[in-house]
Symmetry: C2
C-alpha cells in the first residue's frame, strides 16, 4: 500500500518526515474504519494493523500506544468536521442568514452524516467520560463549535439591526449546538424514526423561531 522506504532523511528533529506522517495517517484511517465497523470494544491493535495491512508491532513505532492512536483519530475526525463546516459556510457567500442556514444543513449532509462516522462519533463520546486526553480534545472542539455558532447567530442578528448581549449569545450557542448534537445522536442510534431531511427541517425551524428570524 505504501513504498516502504523513506524518500528523505529527517531534516529537523521535530518534523519527523513526510512519509512518517503519511504512515501515521494510515493508522488513523484504519482505526476510524475499525471503530465504525466493530465499535470501540472490537477495535483492537491487531485488527487495526490488519486493516492497515501491517504487522501489529508496528503501531508502537508510530504511536506511543493504542490510546495515543485513538486520540489522534479523534483529533483527525474533529478537524475534518470543522473543515467541512468552514467550507460549506464559505460557499454560502456573505449573507449572514444564508451562512447560518448552510451551517445547519452541513450538519446533516455528507460527509458528516455518513452513518459510519456517526457510529465512530458516539464511541468517542463515551471515551470522553473516562479518558482525560480525549476529554481535553473534546473541550477544544466544543469551544470552537460554540464560537462558530455564536458568530453566525451574531451576524444574523446584526444584519437585522438587533443587538444581543454576550451572555445571551453564549446561551443561544449552547442551545443550538445541543439541538444539533441531539438530533445527530438519535439519528445515529436509530435511523428508523426520522431521516436526515427531517432532522434538517426540525433544526431549521427550531433555530429560526428561537432567534426570531426566518432562515431561507
Amino acid at each position: 500500500m505504501h513504498t516502504p522506504g523513506p524518500s528523505l532523511p529527517p531534516e529537523t528533529p521535530d518534523s519527523g518526515g513526510d512519509s512518517r506522517d503519511a504512515r501515521r495517517a494510515d493508522f488513523v484511517a484504519a482505526t476510524l474504519a475499525c471503530l465504525a465497523e466493530y465499535g470501540y470494544q472490537g477495535t483492537t491493535v491487531r485488527r487495526i494493523a490488519e486493516r492497515a495491512g501491517v504487522a501489529p508491532g508496528l503501531l508502537t513505532h508510530y504511536f506511543s500506544g493504542k490510546d495515543a492512536l485513538v486520540a489522534a483519530a479523534y483529533r483527525t475526525l474533529g478537524g475534518r468536521f470543522s473543515r467541512h463546516f468552514d467550507e460549506q459556510i464559505a460557499a454560502a457567500g456573505k449573507d449572514p442568514k444564508a451562512r447560518l442556514a448552510a451551517f445547519i444543513r452541513a450538519s446533516f449532509r455528507s460527509p458528516n452524516l455518513d452513518p459510519d462516522l456517526l457510529k465512530v462519533w458516539v464511541n468517542f463520546w463515551s471515551l470522553i467520560v473516562n479518558d482525560p486526553e480525549i476529554r481535553r480534545i473534546h473541550a477544544e472542539n466544543y469551544a470552537d463549535y460554540r464560537t462558530r455558532v455564536a458568530g453566525l447567530v451574531e451576524a444574523v442578528m446584526a444584519s437585522e439591526d438587533r443587538q444581543v448581549a454576550r451572555r445571551d449569545l453564549e446561551m443561544l450557542a449552547i442551545g443550538i449546538s445541543a439541538l444539533l448534537d441531539g438530533l445527530w445522536l438519535e439519528l445515529c442510534l436509530d435511523q428508523s424514526v426520522f431521516d436526515t431531511a427531517s432532522g434538517e427541517q426540525i433544526a431549521l425551524e427550531m433555530i429560526a423561531t428561537r432567534i426570531g428570524v426566518p432562515i431561507p
Copy 2:
C-alpha cells in the same frame, strides 16, 4: 448485605421467587455503580462481583452472562428515569403548561442529573450502536419518551385552542427530545461550560418560543 437463604420456595415456574429478584437487583445496582466509576471498559465481571460483595462465579447463576446483566441494568435505569418523569408531571397538577414545565425541569434535576448517572447513560449510548439487544431497549425507551413529549405539547396546544397536525407534533417531539438529549450530553461530557440551571433555562426558552406559548 442480604440474607442468603430463600424465604420461600418457588411457587410458579416463571416467578422465580422474590429473593432471586432482589439478588438480581443487587447485581444491577453494582453494575451501574461500576459503569459510573470505571466506564464500560473497567466494568468487569470481577469488579461487579466485588461491588456486590459476592464471588464472580455467581453472576452466571443469576444472568445468562455479562451482556444480559448490562442489558438489565440499562432497562432498570430507563425505567427509573421514566418513573421520575411521571412523578414530576403528576405532581404538577392539571395545568398543561405547568405539566410541560415540570417535565422539562425534571430533566435537569436529581436523580436525573446526578453526574454519575450521566456517565452511565453515555456508556449505554455507545453500546446501542453495536449491541442489538441494547438497541432494542433503546428503541422502546425513545418511543415512550417521544410519546410523552408529544402528549404534553398537544395538551398545551389544546388548552390554547390551537390544533397541531399529527406529523407536526411528532417532529416537535423529536426536536424537543433532541434538545434535551443534547443539553444532557454536553452537561455530562463537560460540566464546566454551563450548569444544570442554565441548561434548564435554555431548554425552557427554546421550547416555549418554538411552540409559541410562554411556559411558567
